[in-house]
Amino acid sequence: MNHASREHLGWLLDVYLRPDGTLVGWLLNDDGQHHLLAWDFPVTIYLEGSPTHLRQVWRTLTDPNLHKARVVRQDIYGHSHTLLALTAPSPGQAQALYHHLQRTFPHLDAYDADLPLGVQVMVRTGVPLLGRCRFRHDGQHLLEINSLASPWDLDPPLPPLRLLRLYPDRDPTLAPPQVLHLEFATYHYRLPLRPLRPFLINLQAIWARCDPDLILSDHGDAWFFPFLQQAAPQFNPNRDPTLGVQFRRERTLFAYGQVLYRAPQAHLCGRWHIDRRNAVLFSEIGLDGVFELARVTGLGVQDAARKSPGAGITALQMQTALRERILVPVAKPEAETPRTLPHLIAHDRGGLIYQPLLGVHTQVAEIDFTSMYPAIMVNANISPETLGHPDAPPGLIPRTLQPLLHKRLALKRWLQSLPPQDCRVPTLRARQTALKWLLVVCFGYLGYKNARFGRVESHEAVTARSRELLLQAKALAEDLGFTVLHMYVDSLFVHHPDAHTPDALTPLLEAIERQTGIPVALEGIYRWLVFPPARRHPSLAVANRYFGVFTDGRIKARGIALRRHDTPPFVAQTQAALLHLLAQAEHPTQRVADAWDWVAQQIARLQRHEVDVADLRMAVKLSRSPSAYRHPGPAAWAAWQLEAQGTAPRPGMRLGFWFTRQGIRVTPPAPDEVDYDRYARLVWRAAAEILEPLTPLPPNRQPRLPLLGRRSPIQCAQVAPSACKALTSC
């Protein structure tokens, strides 16, 4: 060993690029020392095109540090491609080269040109991000690194991290913050933002004292770090002094009929910054889930927190491809195989949806297939290159999913073996939920147009298999005397008069698992379950819309107001409280009268202005640019108001507003300005959604509107749906 080098045990936390393109490894050793080490890491990209264009590229690139070669490599289908391989000394230089060539030679197809850094490092070294390793360095450069961990470890040791919480005293989109709160260990600092100089002095002092590894903020991406950049450009919050904060601009995307908005981002180097308001699944998976995603996918922690699970599953597929020397295209060129229209109609279908039986049901078992679609992809070997080849070896997609499925199942089983109060439960739940989301999106990415390894025929093969398996499960249930009340893609709701306990369901579960080859789990047995009618026609129920209580007291609801993002908190709380009230009874009709009384009380609270204005806030997605609305609704009005205030709302953003007597308001109104009749109708409608299917309230017991003034009955539940919609429209 070189006497100038030192060896440590520790963790590889992250990798990033310096301005000169050098890869930097951020490592933490067991003594608590952080190391930001330059990493010698050449990267090769591949180009394909006409010989003329490739020769032009060859002649154009004269950098002596760039290695050029003609190579033959294979794609996912095993087809050979003759390529120009360009090896740059660092990943940053390879990236810059690719962007330059994309602009100057747009005719060329590129491969392995946009792989995430963490993915490349994981594949080349075997060290996962946040993984234990042994590393050797000379103080500046990483000389050697060896993995002591696997991304599939069930119980990996986590590095000790210094966490700083950071949040303003108010929402910056509504009003300029006055105070910045910082929480570190047991300390809570409250810094007034003005005057600026003392604020900055205090901030820098706290920053230096805490030396955080992770900053968990509210509004850090869109407000705090841009504000800091402007107010104190000389203050570098990074641990790496050679780099400033890495800002990424906001984006609006249109995908699958939805407008998606990605807020601006502020990434740190040598530290992490996660903005809870801008992290896709954070509320569900927290830091434990984000770390799990980073460990498994190779996406850095800051990207894993912000990017959709689709980016994670793409990273996993890239890992498999890179490991097996399969080319990763930047753009997938293959078109669909030509077909006939009857073939298209027969195959272009989704999962099986079996209309629910309307009404109140007791003793209903909910049976769920565990990760059905990924399991189908693995069991049936569905991958772009295996279609039409029944004897093909496992394809890239199944090879990618197999360990992910295995780990998720293992975590789930571990979780189920622990008592609910075990301190490990929240972490395990978060980790397995994070993996669940990867599995949930992997099917969608099989059919996603921009997916590197997507192919619509394989997407169709999965749904065809899923429909068949669900029909098999239905037949098995009926053979055992169950009535099938509802089926939805990967779950069944069944009833048998003698099936009171989980043990009674075991023969059915085992039969389904045996026949389909996919694990199933009993979500629970409902004491009672209601499939309410559709607004459009009272004799029809709606798929995946129900509410009920399990025998263990858990309440589950889908497709009703409290599950929708645009329902104000007060309305959602009212509906949730109704469910809790009904859940106390053996049969929901036993508490209906009490429930209607509770609704009346809630409406009376509105009448008395006793409801916190914050709980009346609506949140609606802006689906297009405000100027593009032909028939403006609340979202458009809210957007125009924000524009007038100097905020520029983007399509895909979720806008908050209130209904007031003067119309839509984007800032919190005074209590006496609120349009309480509007909210009363929303409460009534949410209540009717739950209670009307049980026992309609006689007209003489219905609350009357307006709440303050001339009285006429609320007719929301009794009128035609179109009129009901008019009551709640702007």
Binding site: I345, R349, G447, V456, H459
Partner: protein
């Protein structure tokens, strides 16, 4: 990528929209009966989809007939139950 063929639900809704002029001309009572008939097709969306028909309305008509057959069977059962109950309480001749 993914689905481009409309769902059966969407297709039936489109068909119902095309029938609006027919519906409008009916008496109110008949309009309600027509709505019930069309709604009954929605109870068997999955089965209609499984037919993979080029013209899904054929499957919808079969679903409507199925619902009519079910109602008929339920009515016959009720009638039978009522007749049995009546004959059990019928006064005997002296």
């Amino acid at each position: 990528m993914g689905r481009t063929v409309p769902t059966i639900t969407q297709t039936l809704n489109e068909t119902e929209a095309l029938l609006q002029r027919f519906r409008r001309t009916l008496r109110r009572g008949d309009q309600i009966l027509l709505d019930d008939l069309l709604a009954s097709a929605h109870r068997h969306i999955a089965a209609i989809a499984e037919t993979q028909a080029l013209l899904p309305f054929e499957g919808a008509l079969l679903a409507i007939l199925l619902e009519q057959a079910r109602r008929l069977a339920q009515l016959e059962q009720r009638l039978s139950d009522l007749e049995q109950a009546w004959s059990a309480h019928e006064p005997r001749e002296p």
